[in-house]
């Protein structure tokens, strides 16, 4: 892959990778560092990346590795991510094309907040596979490749993640 191709990928996949970093790291500051390190690592390993292959998966995998390494290295221990931050940020609101009535928008916003709170509160292992599957739309096989774990492990983690989310989101799921 060339530098030019990589810069095109940054434009193309920037949002996907950044959103992933944002929820893997849990806050903007760590996410920015992780996002930057991910692309710089890719830049240092251009010769290893096949531009015609799955660059996005490569970068997601790099982000996970960097994040895990950073956690080990500095023993940063995060608590469950503060959800207030998320609410205060722009762009988090759910705004479909056919804009709903204000009260419906409020309900959706609250629903989204609860979902993010539940996802961000998942243990790291479960949160990572959840983000890769539901946010990045990777299937079990792709997640296994990104995380270098077996498909069975991916399934097991997704299963547990879903069980935990189901419990946490019981109220949301039972809404009409």
């Amino acid at each position: 892959m060339t530098k030019q191709e990589l810069t095109e990928c940054i434009d193309l996949y920037g949002r996907d990778i950044y959103s992933f970093c944002r929820h893997l790291a849990g806050n903007v500051q760590e996410a920015d560092e992780l996002y930057q390190d991910t692309w710089l690592l890719a830049a240092q390993r251009l010769e290893c990346i096949d531009a015609s292959g799955n660059v996005k998966s490569y970068c997601l995998s790099a982000a996970v590795k960097i994040w895990n390494n950073r956690k080990r290295k500095f023993a940063w221990r995060r608590r469950i991510a503060g959800t207030q931050d998320f609410l205060d940020e722009e762009g988090r609101e759910y705004l479909p094309d056919d804009r709903p009535a204000p009260e419906e928008l409020l309900l959706r916003k609250e629903r989204d907040r609860l979902v993010w709170q539940a996802v961000d509160g998942l243990p790291d292992k479960f949160r990572t596979v959840t983000l890769l599957h539901y946010m990045e739309e990777l299937n079990v096989s792709q997640i296994a490749q990104v995380l270098h774990i077996s498909q069975g492990t991916v399934k097991s983690r997704l299963y547990h993640a879903r069980q935990l989310l189901k419990k946490k989101l019981e109220v949301v799921l039972n809404e009409e």
Partner: protein, 402 residues
Amino acid sequence: MKNNLDELLKQVLTPREEADELLHRKILEQVKETGNMGRNRHKRVLAASAAVALVATASITAFAALRYKSPSQMAERIGDEGLAQNFAMMESSRQENDTDWNAAGESQSFGGYRVTFLGFVSGENLSAYERRAGGELRNDRTYCAVAIEKEDGTAVNASEEQFFVSPLIGGLNPGLYNAMTLCGNYSEFVEEGVLYRLLECDNIEIFADHELYLCVTDTTFYDNGLYLSDEAAGSIARNTDYQGLNALFDLDVDSSKADPEKARALIAEIDSPSRDDGEEIEIPEEAKEAMAWGAKITPENIEEYCVRLENTVQTAQADKDGFITFTPWLVNEAISDSWGGGGSNYRFDWYFEDQTPRMVIDSYSGTSIEELVITTYTLNEDKSVTFAAWVPKDVSKALTVN
């Protein structure tokens, strides 16, 4: 349930966040420069309030040789204007009042490396960036600047060569109390073959009534074998038997800056088991029971203890790339493959590299034995593979098969 969990998650977890435009541009510039400038990990988000409150207790005690960048230049290079200003202020003050800044800094050579301690500064809000750990602001920090170069004159390869830089506190176990546990972080870059590292961690001046040191090693983490700690005497020394890099500099801090109360609180925080809780996954007892039960299931005994759910059984052949794909399957709310999106997909040789016909246990999962589901793949004589989901026999009746 009225809402489907998968649909809800896919809908809400849509990637919407984007990096700040400034960060975006900076990354593009750095990517273009890659290969010319070496690794340079430095961007952090500006604190909401960029105002930097210089605290009078900031201090700087070591000198850099003319050939090296000064700490303020390092801070500037990594994009931390606030820290650069504070380092520069200290450098300037030192030049006026005492010794020329460009006087040689202390250097030590071990294991083929020459390390020069360029200086350190401590205080509150010295950086233009805020540092958080565990969700809390930690802006009372110490910043240490070192230059590491190879004695043979070749360039340091920051991607392949690992270094650990950390303050150490005499009288405290250095394996437990070092940059890692003091919420450390660092930025570094290579210029003209010299690696410049700027380490930051919690302010160590609160330990000024102890002997304070700065260690620099060629390891990734702190290694107990590299230094000799005499906790009773309150001193730390190099282990001279070590053949690699284990430099040790004295950190000269005015003992009046010691704050035993804060020091005790920080030690208690580091010692607190809750610091590690974030890594632990709390597994309910019934889930542990289920996992223990599932672990005992083997291809040989699965028929004795489990029931195969016939409507999950699928047989498929590997495609030309060696991938076998099974369609999503659903038995009921508790047993499904809804996490797989397009069903399961895996490489034939993951499980059957030797191509010997047999059954393998793919996974077992469930938060209780009642919800336990075991999946298997069986390689048949004709090289096709059969997938099946199983549930424990004694609870199978409780699970209504659709």
